[in-house]
């Protein structure tokens, strides 16, 4: 790769293969939203403080606003759009609905993706581990109580299944 103004990348997003040409300064978040119309990942602070843009990159929770699209060449991305299968919600999505953990909804996709990573990594998190796992996701509506209960509910659902 060198001097040109667009760079070819190949990446798998929610199980689908993409070949794209991206400018070097464009973030993963912008490519997801503006090019691929995957608008579940939200722009907010765009400096890694709020977590609204959280996606999984090669199985790890990251802020898609702090990653250049060229960096994901050869990698795998999971966004909120990739969580449900054939209309069946992920246990986390269902738990957020059941616990009323969504108010304005803007932080929700990032919150769920951060929680997804937490539960993949640690299926039985303690209260403080949930708080730590979601420390990079800001919510200005809920006060976090229902969000934490939703993660606890999803963890028990997953443990039963």
């Amino acid at each position: 790769m060198n001097g040109s103004s667009a760079y070819p990348i190949r990446t798998t997003i929610n199980g689908k293969h993409y070949s794209l040409e991206v400018p070097p300064h464009q973030t993963l978040l912008r490519v997801l939203r503006d090019r691929l119309m995957l608008t579940g990942s939200k722009p907010c602070c765009e400096e890694g403080e709020c977590g609204a843009c959280t996606v999984l990159f090669n199985g790890r929770a990251v802020n898609s606003c702090l990653i250049l699209a060229v960096e994901v060449d050869g990698g795998e991305i999971l966004t909120i759009e990739g969580l449900s299968h054939h209309g069946e919600l992920d246990p986390l999505q269902q738990a957020f609905i059941d616990e009323g953990a969504v108010q304005c909804g803007y932080c929700t996709p990032g919150m769920i993706m951060a929680a997804k990573y937490l539960l993949m990594d640690n299926p039985h998190p303690s209260l403080s581990q949930i708080q730590q796992g979601l420390a990079g996701n800001l919510c200005r509506c809920t006060g976090y109580g229902r969000i934490i209960r939703a993660v606890q509910r999803a963890a028990s659902t997953l443990a039963e299944s």
Binding site: M1, N2, G3, S5, Y7, P23, P24, H25, T27, E46, E47, G48, E49, G51, T54, R60, A61, V62, N63, C65, L66, I67, L68, V70, E71, A114, Y117, L118, Q131, Q132, G133, A135, G136, N137
Partner: protein, 282 residues
Amino acid sequence: MFQYLRPTRLEEVGELLAAHQGSAALLAGGTDLLVALRSGKGFPEVLIDLKRVADLGADISAGDSSIRIGALTVLADVERSSLVRDRFPALARAAGVVGSIQIRNRATLAGNICNASPAADTAPPLLAYGAAIQLFGLQGSRTLPISEFFLGYRSTALEPGEIVVSIEVPYPPPGCGSSFQRITRRRGVDLATVSAACLLQPHQETLFGMGAVGPTPLRVRDDTGILSDPAGDPQQGREAIARLAGRASPISDLRSGKEYRAAMLQVVLLRAYEESLRMCLN
């Protein structure tokens, strides 16, 4: 706009840095760099992505006398490494409080050091443990004690064209205790107002790293033997720590006034020392 370059060998990185002296930026985790690129202060001519340089390594390996942390190792992996947790608990703890998990999954230990913020959380433990920084340059490789790495505010001893290859941390002798402590304005994600790490070695000098209390992270030592004596007088110990804290030169900024920093530095030094002492006694 900048060019994006993705070398795979160390020599290529050296050549690119030589060809674009002063106008190249190095990209590892990018958690500081992307914020800077977005700040409107302009772009470098070239962005050199280091993540495919095999010789840099993204892993932690155990040697005979030290561990080697490759320059691409992310903080989340430092935090959860059982080797680091067992032998270098202060480093594991410091790596685990940098930003959020989303940040720690990208940000590298080497990047935290090279960014050279006085508040870099991993600097105090690396100073206390006496880490060595392995550098590569076209003129040759060299090793620098981390106490000689920080030259000033966001300024390091890296020569033009040099990059960090790995960070090596020597195992403390048996029977040691170590601890990292920090004070922040809120729980959760925040920069340290002050931070300190301690390495307590019975009947040897006691080493401290201090953060956010001067233009660079600072290493200080107590060689009076007061602190390394498990049966020492607590009052004398507090006085020794107050003397060490006096070596700092805190400033006032948006996180704290300098008087508060100076007072809290003694608190975090004492907490780090007391936790280290408890580990020694157990």
